[in-house]
Every structure is written in structure tokens, then in C-alpha cells.
Subunit: 416 residues, 2 copies
Amino acid sequence: MTEIRQPTPRRGTNLPRMGDFNLTVILEAIRRSSGGLSRVELAQIVGLSPQTISNISRRLLDQQLIVEAGKEGSGPGKPRTILRLNPAGMYAVGVHLDPAVITFVVLDLLGDVVKHSRMATPGGDPAGVITGIAEQIQALIEESGVDASKIAGLGVAVPGPIDLDEGSVVEPPLLTRWNRVRIREALADATGLETLVDKDVTSAAVAETWAGGASGAGSFVFMYMGTGIGCGIVLNDEVVRGTSGNAGEIGHIVVDPEGPQCDCGLRGCVKSSCIPQVLVAEAEAAGVLDGNRHGADGPEVQERYAELCDRADAGDERAIAILDKSATLVARAVSVVTNTLDVERVVFGGPFWGRMSPYFLDRVPGLLDRNNAARMIHGLEVVGTGVGEDVGAIGAACLVLEHMLAPRAQRLLLEG
Amino acid sequence: MTEIRQPTPRRGTNLPRMGDFNLTVILEAIRRSSGGLSRVELAQIVGLSPQTISNISRRLLDQQLIVEAGKEGSGPGKPRTILRLNPAGMYAVGVHLDPAVITFVVLDLLGDVVKHSRMATPGGDPAGVITGIAEQIQALIEESGVDASKIAGLGVAVPGPIDLDEGSVVEPPLLTRWNRVRIREALADATGLETLVDKDVTSAAVAETWAGGASGAGSFVFMYMGTGIGCGIVLNDEVVRGTSGNAGEIGHIVVDPEGPQCDCGLRGCVKSSCIPQVLVAEAEAAGVLDGNRHGADGPEVQERYAELCDRADAGDERAIAILDKSATLVARAVSVVTNTLDVERVVFGGPFWGRMSPYFLDRVPGLLDRNNAARMIHGLEVVGTGVGEDVGAIGAACLVLEHMLAPRAQRLLLEG
DNA sequence: ACTAGGGGCATCAGTGACTGAGATCCGGCA
DNA sequence: TGCCGGATCTCAGTCACTGATGCCCCTAGT
């Protein structure tokens, strides 16, 4: 299947590439506008001549990616014809393979969820699980009732590390038996769909650029709050994948010099001091959560973490202290990343985000600002994602949309 | 002067842009080859047709950016004409404003230094210093004897934080009085040259891409070992500047949970535990370096640090221990950055690098490999820069060359 | 109701960069 | 000396963007 990575050395470009690129530029402008755009507005925004806009609009209309949606006239003159995305112009399927749960979505061109489903992650043989996923995908497509010919492909979000070239999962900590499984190939064969694989946090960042509205533009870091904590990075509207697709590994940033010992030899790393599992254990040790149910699997932790948040919401000081402290620690890790990359925004999201958000939004912005090396020059926006809990699966589907339709510079270059 | 930053929203592209871009692509291919390339080879590498290569070659020859340099024939058929960069085709002036010393260079198109000079950084009023810099630049250009019409511009590397939009220095820690000084404007006016300002670490990274040979390709982090420690970031052959040009601030990454208290409230940050000034103080406290000369200004520290290295080179165990520990700590910070960005290479350089390199090259590669989150997928190359001590000033000049001639995607987009 | 006016948008040629086919050039080899 | 093969150039041809021009559609005034 198509490669995501950039070839090197850099290759030239030619006329058809240019045309395709401009098409995606226009599509993106329409996508990022709130209520659609007229041809004249487009010309102004993208800097191309009105004629070119007209030509490209026609191509987009022919491809049914956009529709003419009413007119907007104020004052004399012919009213502007508004161009909007056609939600039914393209669909993509996304799968998020999480250690605890597998999420499936069908997304339309707007990035809205048409259909979704979940299943607990089976513990068995990867090959069997992959077959199950493929079946579930087929069922979901049928149930969704979308035109199968409009499905552009399948995106798969997996926990890292991954090998982007191989399209494989490489020794994910919580998915034993999934070592060097070439899931891209396997799912492409099983479903017949063009398939892209990427890391869950990268997918989440792509979801934000595609379905996240204003907070998905420019340069930002997406903090993915899941079973682990990782980040997706977007610089100048393009996601950063890294050499092998493993960018965003921040688990060993030291955030608490007095924190617990980590397997890396240091103390107080992110992954040993502020992931939900650790917080839950801390709460149990402190007697905030009763019992010592050491169920360390995904859903169990999420449930216990929700309990912890319930206590805090109810006013339990000790529960609040644990959450506040976790916010402080996470903020330190975020500061490291934002200072390294000088981004303009931090977007929080992921399955655990919903419950923790009030505690984080209360403290993190101030902490980040205080540690912002570029404090004198610009602020640092902190927001929660609008994409919701299924951001992994939605992002996976967005990988496909992004690959087909985003104005990446890569698109201009000739292929090897 | 021209903006470095990318506008948003993304704008379209057109025919002339495409031509210019392809020209830079070909130039880069020639630049990155060891002994020049023929037209046929170029066609193969950049993916354009031989005719296009011929046309663009003619443009490059007309502009005197390349020259035909001999033929290379093996076997029957017309021998290939080798195209090489013409060193005299373009020059750039670079200035590195360091708290201790100001370095000046004139660079040719190959990235080789034609002429260079230094002066101690005067402590006076910024306006006066800037006048002095401008005079020194004029003198250097005259002495170098290069054709003034071939000088493409002036690059200025300054310590952060900076404001890239303003072209100004913003409260650099060791340059008091230099707050919000619009040095780009001032030097452009004073010299009449097109002027670009960027952070020293970013400039160093650009130097590596332009003058560093093979180690300047692809995705890497440039660790700048100076009075402070910072990094320049290059992803997919393009330097990362960040929203305001302040990317690469890694001073507050925690690397030693038992380290000294930092002004940020944590312990063991990079800037409080492994910058030369701290190591020298440590050595003095331990009696490795005699006396307690607390001269904390730049040249003084560099001298004392050299002494420390001398001791280590001579076999002083305690001196070696201090340097080894600093290598360990720096490696931790580097790991944070490389795991966040998943780059393929780390390049060390900067004024202090020469003396510390044996100790670092001995330990850092192993430590980085051990902490590499993508260890199973790819290795992490560690090299010292070939650019030398003046990497800041050379990088400053390279900013100009890069801006004029590098195949940045940005070049394709229409301007606002 | 009709007309003037103005802005949106399409049509038509024009420019310029890349491409394909064929011609030309240049050396080695028989 | 003539043949051959590879490198490069010449000459149209294609196609995306641009500028000029004109049609279309709506508002507003009479």
C-alpha cells in the first residue's frame, strides 16, 4: 500500500502534481471555513485567480467532494454561490486497536461519525484477532449503508512502537504476542481496502487537524491521555511522524524528582508517576479508593480512575490532591515538549480526558505559561479536544482522508 | 525583509513557483553529491525528464550557480558532462552574536569559509554594538575580495529567546540591555544587505544541512554545546523554527533527580546541572581545578573548561568523572528529544564540543541506544559536526543560502 | 414593472514549465 | 575511417494558471 514516509533525496514536481495540490488546498480552505466559502473568497484566501478557482471547483463538483449550497447575497450584484463539503463525497473506515478495546468508526468527509462500534480486545492469536477485525469492518460498512465505492480506505491506529515502513506493530507493552505483526498487509488483504497504519497518538493528532475545528490548525501538540500518555505533534499543519513513525514517545520525561523509581533507572518519569494506573494505585494506597483490586487491565483501570474522579468531584480533598498533582506533573512534561518545539497550542484528549479535564484545565494553562520559554513573545493556548473519546479510531479514519485530501507538501513531489 | 515563517492558511501554487522549486531541487541534488552530477544522473535522482534538467541546468549556468566541470566517459557513447556548484556563484555573510564573542564569516556557495574574524562582545549600548558590527561586516567584505554583487545577504545568529516576526532579540539571559532590540531591521539598514535573524542553535542546525555533508541530511537534532545547551531540529531536510523561532529550548529538561535546585523549582535541569559553567564550578569545589576564580563570563568559562579537559586528558580520575557524568546527563536530555521526534541522527557541535567530544562520543551512543524508544526499529546515529567551532556564524550565513536556494516546500506557496 | 448598476462567474486566448520524439553531438572501437 | 551507443539538444505538444472580456443574476431606484 502507499507509503506515508517522505523519500529522500527530494524529488522535483510537475504540472499534474501542482494541479492536484491546488485542489487539496482549495478543499482544505473550504473544510476549515465554518459555513462554506464562495469562489471569490477562495481566490482571496488561497491566492489563485478566480478562473483557476472555478476550474478546480468544477473538478471538485464532478468528483462530488463539494456541493453548491445556496447563495449569499448582500447588496447589489449576483449573490455568491457557497461551496460546501459534501459529507457523502468520501468515507473512511477507522480502527483503533487498543490493549483493552477495539473501536471501529465510519467517517464521512466532514469528519463526522456515521457509524461506530466497539469490542473488547480478544487475547488470542493476532492472526485470529485480525480476521475478527476484518469481519467487524465489513459488518460495520454494511450497517452504515454508505456507498461502498465511496470508501477511500482503512486507517488503523495502534499503540507504539510501530514500524511505519513495514506497517507493523512492534512489541507494544500491553499487547504481548503482537510482536512484528504486519497488520497493514494483513488487513489490506482481508478487507480489500487501501490501508494505512499509524500510532494512536499520531492518529489522534490527525483527527484534531481534520475534525477538530480551529484547534486543529497551525502547530500544536496533542496530549493523548490513555492507558499511557503520549503525544502527537503537528507543525505548520503537517503531522510529524518521525523516521519510523514513532514520534511522540514522552513516557520517560522526568517530571517528579521525588517520584517513584522507573524501569529506566531514573525517578519520576511520566509513565511511572502520572499515568492513570499509577494514580489509581496511589489512591488505593492512600485509602481514597477502597479495596486493593489489582486488576491492571484497561477497562478495570478506567473504571477505578472514574471512581477516583467521582470522589474528587464530590469534594474528597485527597482525591482532588491526587488529580491536581497529576495535572502538575503532566504540565511539566508538556512544557518540555512545547519548549522544544515552540508550538502555539496544546490539545488534550483521549479516553481518560473527559473525567480529568476540569482538574487539568484549571491548573495546566498557568503552569505551562510559567514554564514557557517564549513567554515574552507569545502565549500558549490550552484546550480540550472536541473530537471525543473515540479520537483514536476517528483519527485512524482521518489518516485516510488526510492521505487523500490534505495539502501536504509531499503531495507535490514525484514518486520514486 | 523577507519573512521566514509560514503563512496560514496554506496558499496555492503556480507555474513560476514550480519552476523555481525544481531549480532548487536540482541545485540541492548537485550540492549533496560528492563530486558533481551529470544531467542524466540528475534526471534519475529528481525524477524530472532529461529535457527539463537541461533547461534548468542552462538557467543555473546562466546564473553562474553551477559550472560544467569536465567529462566522465566510460565505455562507448558521449561522455557525461559533470555539473558542479560554482563556489563563486553566491556568497553570504554570517554573524554570530554570542554573549562572549562576535564571530563574522563570509561563506561561498559550497559553504566554505572565505574569510572570518572575531571580536569580543562589547558591553555597551546595543545601538553602538550594532554599528560596530556593521562596520566590521563592511571591512570583512572588502578584505575578502569577493564580488559584492554576489553577496546574497546577511544572516545573524543570536541567543534566544527571539521574536522571528520582529527580527528581534528578547531578553537573552547573558546579554542584558539587549531586550527587544530589532537587530534585523538595524543591520539591514546599516549594511544595505537583505538580513535574516535566527536563533544560534537553529542556525547551527542549518549549517549542518548546508555545510555538514552526509550528516546534514534527513531528520536530526543538532546539540549545540555552548555557554548554554540548546538544540536545533531538522525534520525531513527542513529546519523546525516553531511559532516564534524559539524551538530547541531544552534547558529545563530534568536529567538528574539528585541534581542541584534550579530556578524553575525542580532539581537537576540541564541548565543547572550540565552546562560548562556548572561543571567548572563543580570541578573547583572538588579541588580538581585550583583557585576559586569566579569569573563567570564566557571566555573565562571556556578557558577553565579547557583546563578541566586538560586534566581529564592527562588522566585525572576526578576530572574524567565530571566529564563522564556530564555526558550521561546530556544523553538523558537528548533521549527526551529524540524519543519525542524519532529522528535518525544526533549531531553534536558548538564552541565547547571540540574538547568534550572524546568523552561524549565514548558514552553517549550507548546511552541513547539504551533509551531509544524505537530501538527495535532503527538505530540512532551519533556524530560530531564537521563544521567546526564557528558553526554559529557559518550557520547564520547558511540561513541566507538556505533561504535563497533550499528546496523548502514553503517556496512553492504563493505569498500573502 | 422596468431599467440601471454591480458583483459573481464562465469563456477564450495567452504564457510558461514539463514531456516525448527525433536530431545532433561526441567519444570508443573495429 | 566508419559504425555504434549514450548524452544532450531541438521542436512541437500538453496542460495548469492568468488576464481580458462578457454573460448572468440580483438589488435598488424610478
